[in-house]
Amino acid sequence: MNMERLDLFRVLAERRTNEVVITTMTATLQWPLVSSHPLDFDFLAFGMGHASDFGLGLALARPERKVIVLKGDGGLLMSLGSLVTMGRYGPPNLLVLLLENRSYEMTGGQPISPKADFVALARGAGLDNVERIDALAALEAELPRLLTEPGPHFVVLPVVNSEPLPPVAHTDHTERVARLRRGLGLD
């Protein structure tokens, strides 16, 4: 049974400490409902499908800091080559949590190909630490390991959502970057 997405976010927010959390697209619009942290970074409207590419760059630049990318499966399909790049260069401090709802939620919920197997795709792209976690209790049990064990890790999380969504924000990009850099002690 798929996890309720907002419950998943609550579990992650409760265990997260000083990790950067990058969110993007409709799949993560509810993250601010459970988290307000200087190292939250909303990648929405920074470039379709590229949140994990940005997260990879940030993780390479800040090896002492865990970087978590929360993104949807539709977003991954927009830059599927990212998996190969992560497989080649992905550093130990990168954790990608793929929210699998089998649809392009932002544009109306059009289904993605039912044949796409994201675990197989990630493994085939060269990522070694790939897993699927199907239940909230299992995620709660595995998060301490995922947040501390060297990666990169790629975790597929099947989700549903029955809660209302906050509005989409397409503004303040410069301030989002400045806030994150301040949070990292760079400005």
Partner: protein, 167 residues
């Protein structure tokens, strides 16, 4: 002589303090790419596509590094959304070294004209990005000039190279 020296270009990139190069090489930049891989001062990353590369470079910059992006004009066209979203919109001062596919043919009057040649500078101007041309070793100063412009304006800036880098 057409085309800048790869070795001299790498020396300029090192002197300017670039820490990382995100390179999706074209035929004209292959010697530069190879020379960069030999630099002990620079990390080189080769993503699968240019939009991916610009987002990767933006992440490096936000994390405190100083990346340079090398891509062909056709890749720049592919990467439009990433350039808008990860460079222009959030004021990230990426320097792009852009291969101008079609330039030598256009200069020699070869027909039909490569549309990649035709649209390169109009596209850069449409994004309101400052740019300079790099055609030989004599032009290598434009890399530093455009790096300073990018940092001074907090926006991307572009250097276009019209000929292949020499070994």
């Amino acid at each position: 002589m057409n085309g800048a020296s790869a070795a001299r270009t790498v020396a300029v990139i090192e002197d300017l303090g670039f820490t990382d190069v995100v390179s999706i090489p074209d035929g004209e930049s292959r010697h530069l790419h190879r020379a960069l891989l030999e630099s002990p001062e620079i990390e080189v990353y080769s993503p699968t596509r240019e939009g991916e590369g610009i987002a990767l470079a933006a992440g490096l910059w936000v994390g405190g590094r100083k990346p340079l992006v090398i891509l062909q004009n056709t890749g720049l066209m592919e990467a439009g959304d990433a350039l808008r979203g990860c460079g222009i919109g959030p004021s990230i001062p990426l320097l792009l070294l852009v291969g101008w596919r079609g330039y030598p043919g256009a200069m020699s009057g070869t027909l039909p004209m490569d549309s990649a040649y035709t649209y390169t500078e109009p596209l850069i101007r449409a994004w309101e990005l400052p740019h300079r041309r790099l055609m030989s070793d004599e032009d290598l100063g434009v890399i530093g000039e455009m790096a300073a412009v990018a940092e001074g304006t907090s926006k991307p800036a572009v250097v276009v190279y019209g000929y292949g880098f020499t070994p």
